[in-house]
Symmetry: C2
Subunit: 202 residues, 2 copies
């Protein structure tokens, strides 16, 4: 039983999902497959050149209050980032280069925390090197691999695949051929991965 977790490092609501996912999936006996992609090209498909939370300020105001409330409810640290959305391109490329590294989930969770708990500029190589160092990983070679043609192609293919799956936001979950969108739906996605519709759980 596998759950594909489609994430974009700039996405606010993906932070609480990323932070909770391993524990929830492990408790359910579900394997997580971590799937980086970029929301920017998908937003551009819809005619948006920015996050809809910036383009539609009423929705944005709600989101800032709501995501703080959600994090508080889960006991997760939260700091509204001073830049939004942050550019997650380099971090997503590292995640692609490291697709089979044992430390990949730790890296992903740490990048989300850097952005949304510590207000760090995750677009900067130095911040990402620091995160990798904190995981005991020598980051230099990974930064180089992140810029390889093959890595760039891999991330582009991930975003194309997200589009094919009908993904239009993050976090998105795919389980048993079903797409679920939003941090609210993590429980439903886990239930579907286990083989049934348990939407009642929310």
């Amino acid at each position: 039983m596998t759950l594909d977790f489609w994430f974009e490092f700039g996405s606010t609501y993906t932070y609480p999902s990323a932070a909770r996912l391993r524990e929830i999936a492990a408790a359910a006996g579900v394997t997580v497959s971590w799937q980086p992609f970029l929301l920017g090209p998908i937003f551009r498909d819809q005619g948006w050149n920015d996050s809809p939370f910036n383009l539609y300020p009423v929705k944005g105001s709600y989101m800032w209050r709501d995501v703080a409330r959600v994090c508080d409810g889960h006991g997760l640290p939260w700091t509204r980032p001073s830049v939004f959305p942050r550019n997650g391109l380099l971090a997503a490329r590292i995640a692609c280069a490291a697709h089979d590294a044992h430390w990949l989930p730790d890296f992903i969770v740490a990048v989300f925390a850097a952005n949304f708990a510590f207000d760090r500029e995750i677009a900067e190589a130095d911040v990402l090197l620091d995160i990798l160092h904190g995981l005991g990983v020598d980051g230099g070679p990974w930064l180089e691999r992140a810029q390889d043609r093959a890595t760039k192609d891999r991330l582009r293919a991930q975003t194309d695949r997200a589009r094919e799956l009908g993904i239009f936001g993050a976090p998105s979950f795919v389980a048993g051929g079903e797409l679920f969108w939003g941090n609210d739906r993590l429980g439903d996605a886990i239930a579907w991965a286990l083989g049934g519709n348990d939407a009642k759980a929310t």
Copy 2:
């Protein structure tokens, strides 16, 4: 402890909330205050002349699959309406005119079921008369009251109030000064009405 339930009869995800709300609120000891409004003017504020599910077909495709799945999970009948979104103006005016009628919640739940379980044209007076008749209510006088100047003003004031509250979609819930958006958040809104942040519940 009161929960304000802001609803628009054309809204798909409001149907499962309306259908479940009384039972969930009663079990929690929370009183529901039924607040009709129109989404059309609020969507127009955002530059949309149609439902975003029609304007953004990728999001719409997801919604049609998701709302069917949600209803299935709750054991609610679901039929994709042959017209979307349906015009809920007349039904909302009846709800405004009947704001203190004992049958108001039954009427609201029945209109949502007519639209989303039975694919009936809730914009038509005959359909609404039939729903009222089914509740043992003589609908004729209510249709007249629905067209009173005072009723029309009341619905306009409701929509203005929704705007002031920062409402941008439906269903929306307001409890203890906090706004929650989406069928997914009914449980959180009930928990907030009871006096605490229990976002962990979802």
